[in-house]
């Protein structure tokens, strides 16, 4: 092992190459790209305004102008599913980003400094880990309201412990490596060592966890929406499922299509995360 070549560091190009060779990760990536395109192009893709009601309630899928049918208020289900991708993607990305930032900060400080700081931060992390996430999210959202910003914040704040523990373990390992010692000897300040020296070297597994976090955040947002705690001023997949509850027998399409959309989005990020994990794990790497 060369002195200044950290073991876990894998070049971006190499990871990409690995990912490309993996069908699962690639499929996940393709699904994410499609989801992102749908979200970005929603105004052009959606055949109707998602909030537009009409007297044509409960039209079945395949009706003229309503490929996936209409709901109890005559709103187009396809347009709802298309616009719902925006909420899922925004909440998923922003919440996972929030969780990752908090996780990195806590994990890095904890792992780099160790000792009492580590002890305290890890107990706090454990506290967050043992709290049932969904129940707490329900309570917080019910209490503070369910705007998009609140949803992102709540889901983000409840999702960071895994990242924190991962980053901590990486820092614990790296802080004794020669390149960190070298940085110390050169008189670098801890903040700089943490962010400039170590962090880039441990980012790969963090990104894996982040992509799995996105999937979890999408699922949590949909669950909150299903319980009627989504943002009431946006069309979201969870919210669509919520209103569909009373019409499962009468209009199955109201629940099936948003349900399928949630499953596909979650599956996409999970596949991508798994693929990324395999691609960055040197033990699983073949042919190098």
């Amino acid at each position: 092992m060369a002195a200044s070549a950290p073991a876990a560091t894998v070049g971006a190009a190499a990871v990409w190459g690995q990912l490309m060779r993996q069908r699962r990760g690639l499929l996940g990536l393709a699904m994410i790209v499609v989801l992102a395109l749908v979200a970005i192009l929603a105004p052009w893709l959606a055949p109707h305004d998602p909030f537009s009601t009409s007297r044509n309630a409960f039209l079945p899928p395949g009706s003229a102008g309503h490929l996936l049918g209409t709901d109890h208020l005559g709103r187009d289900v396809l347009s709802g599913v298309i616009y719902g991708s925006r909420v899922s993607l925004i909440v998923g990305l922003a919440a996972a980003f929030t969780a990752t930032v908090i996780g990195i900060l806590v994990g890095a400080v904890s792992g780099f400094f160790g000792g009492l700081v580590d002890e305290i931060l890890m107990r706090i992390t454990e506290l967050f880990q043992i709290i049932p996430r969904f129940v707490l999210a329900l309570i917080v959202v019910a209490f503070f309201g369910s705007g998009l910003f609140n949803l992102i914040l709540v889901i983000g704040i409840l999702s960071w412990p895994q990242t924190a523990r991962l980053v901590r373990s990486q820092f614990l390992r790296h802080r004794t490596l020669p390149y960190v010692d070298a940085a110390r000897v050169l008189g670098m300040r801890p903040v700089r060592i943490i962010f400039r020296e170590i962090l880039p070297n441990v980012l790969a597994p963090v990104i894996v966890v982040a992509s799995l976090d996105i999937a979890q955040a999408i699922l949590l947002e949909a669950s909150l929406g299903f319980f009627g705690l989504g943002d009431p001023n946006l069309r979201s997949w969870g919210g669509m499922l919520n209103t569909a509850q009373g019409y499962v027998q009468r209009a199955w399409w109201m629940s099936v299509f948003p349900g399928v959309a949630i499953s596909l989005a979650v599956l996409g990020f999970n596949l991508f995360g798994d693929g990324l994990n395999d691609a960055t794990d040197p033990r699983l790497r073949s042919g190098s």
């Binding site: 909030f51 009601t53 309630a57 109890h72 209103t243 009373g246």
Partner: protein, 516 residues
């Protein structure tokens, strides 16, 4: 030659059969089973306003008056009554009647029940009692109620649901809350108590000495079915004959309607109004043109059809269309404010309002409100108003709406059978500040005066005249956006006839009979 004869015979047979069906005469006998959603806590309707207690009580007890199908008070125990010229003294003459234990019903029983049992224990009777100066019995067959001030809803608060008459000799000197007769009641109604199996059923039988026409059914069983879905099923398999709307899972109505053995009924009984409060603290909403624009912009028919599943009637005015004397065709909202986004846009432009964003607060537990909010969001968007929908839990809704921290809020108020009891509070300026009253900030001295006058007029025609004036003012000012009157529902076995003869569907089961 044969075919025409056969046809003739068939036609005659059909005509004959049809004539028979037309002339169906009620036949006595049989047992009917009515569904209750929960076991009554006791069977004393004079100390509780609970729905199941009132249900059983309606058959067990009698009262001075009942409300007919149209809500008009008619004499029950009271053969007749007179009202003094100043509308303050009501004199009732009683019919000869007997309790189920054989003792006669006298004016002493009426006075005792009202003063000793109803006034301290019955939430709604208290409404009337506040206006009562004295209740006296000059002789055995006369009851005199003297009011402190004229109070028109008095008669409506003397029905079996508000003032059932108890036997004085059973209750005198006891605590009415713990009297054993609460479990084995003695009334003077068309059915007498037989048995109560807690949590399962209450069985009544025809009282042969009822003071009016005897009930037709031999037995009436109130069966307790706590699960929503099980009630519809009980009806479908013939284990129950009547399910009232109060206990009806709405989602099952269509299925029951399609069943030839079940008759589903949808109609207006005790009007309950769904409307939107408009907070006039918001400067834009203080402008009457903006409020009128909201009326034009909201598609109330779509709300009834989709948010309420058709179980409603677009409201004809601030008191709905359920009270003939508090409704005026000339100010019917359906003709004054048809769905007309173009007109709404004009009014908003006149008022100089552009790009308005309004918060819409409602109780998140009410599914119909959520659906109505989505329709209104779409409606108002068409006229340039953005709706910021805020579903909140009930306690927060009450705090925000009555604390005037909202722009629009959907509500439903029940009339309790008289607009003076249920709806006046929404418009009276003196009622501002408390919960479940005037939350719009609307204050109009003329409206105050007219409403208070209307509440004091016992004569329906005089009352109607007062309301006509109020209706005209409110139709112009629209401090609340009346959306729809809720329709009650009932599903019953098709062979059970003679239902829905009274204002409240729980009442009048003595007229029910089983067709062979």
């Amino acid at each position: 030659m044969r075919t025409p004869l056969v046809l003739l015979a068939l036609t005659l047979a059909w005509l004959f059969g049809h004539a028979l069906a037309q002339a169906e005469t009620p036949t006595p006998g049989g047992t009917a089973i009515v569904v209750l959603g929960s076991d009554p806590e006791h069977l004393n309707a004079a100390i509780s306003t609970g729905y199941p207690i009132g249900a059983v009580g309606a058959s067990l007890y009698s009262a001075l008056v009942y409300l007919d199908r149209d809500g008009v008070p008619r004499g029950e125990l009271a053969e007749s009554w007179t009202v003094s010229d100043d509308d303050r003294v009501y004199t009732f003459t009683l019919r000869p009647a007997t309790f189920h234990d054989g003792t006669p019903v006298t004016s002493a029983d009426v006075v005792f029940t009202m003063e000793e049992v109803l006034a301290p224990n019955h939430g709604r009777f208290l409404n009337a009692y506040r206006n009562i100066a004295s209740i006296t019995a000059p002789d055995d067959a006369t009851v005199v109620i003297e009011l402190t001030q004229p109070y028109a809803p008095l008669i409506n608060l003397l029905t079996v649901f508000e003032a059932p008459i108890l036997p004085k000799h059973v209750f005198e000197g006891t605590d009415p809350l713990t009297n054993p007769a609460n479990e084995a009641p003695i009334g003077s109604g068309p059915f007498r108590f037989v048995e109560w199996v807690r949590g399962e059923r209450v069985t009544l039988e025809r009282f042969e000495d009822y003071f009016l026409d005897n009930a037709l059914l031999d037995r009436l069983i109130y069966r307790v079915v706590p699960q929503d879905a099980a009630r519809s099923v009980a009806l479908e398999v013939g284990e129950a004959d009547v399910v009232w709307g109060f206990y009806m899972p709405p989602a099952d109505l269509d299925r029951l309607d399609a069943n030839p053995n079940i008759e589903v009924w949808k109609g207006l009984t005790i009007p309950s109004l769904y409307f939107v409060f408009v907070n006039t603290d918001n400067p834009a909403l203080d402008d009457v043109r903006v409020r009128q624009a909201l009326m034009f912009a909201i598609d109330r028919e779509q709300i009834v059809e989709q948010a309420q599943g058709g179980l409603g009637e677009v409201a004809g005015g601030p008191f709905g269309a359920g009270f003939a004397y508090a409704y005026d065709e000339a100010t019917d909202y359906r003709t004054l404010y048809p769905f007309d986004p173009e007109r709404a846009r004009e009014l908003l432009a006149e008022a100089g309002v552009g790009d308005l964003t309004l918060t819409f607060v409602y109780d998140s537990a009410r599914g119909a409100f959520a659906a109505a909010a989505e329709i209104m969001r779409d409606n108002l968007r068409q006229v340039g108003i953005t709706l910021n929908v805020q579903p909140v839990e009930r306690s927060v809704m009450v705090e925000r709406v009555y604390g005037r921290d909202y722009d629009l809020s959907m509500q439903s108020f029940t009339s309790s059978g008289d607009p003076a009891i249920g709806y006046h509070r929404i418009y009276l300026s003196a009622e501002r500040g408390a919960n479940f009253v005037n939350a719009t900030g609307y204050a109009n001295a003329e409206v105050d005066e007219l409403l208070n006058a209307a509440a004091g007029l016992a004569d329906r025609d005089a009352r109607a005249a007062a309301y006509t004036e109020v209706l005209a003012i409110l139709a112009n000012d629209v401090p609340t956006l009346a959306i729809f009157d809720e329709l009650s529902t009932q599903a019953a076995a098709a062979n059970l006839r003679g239902l829905l003869v009274r204002f409240d569907q729980r009442d009048g089961l003595e007229y029910a009979w089983l067709a062979p």
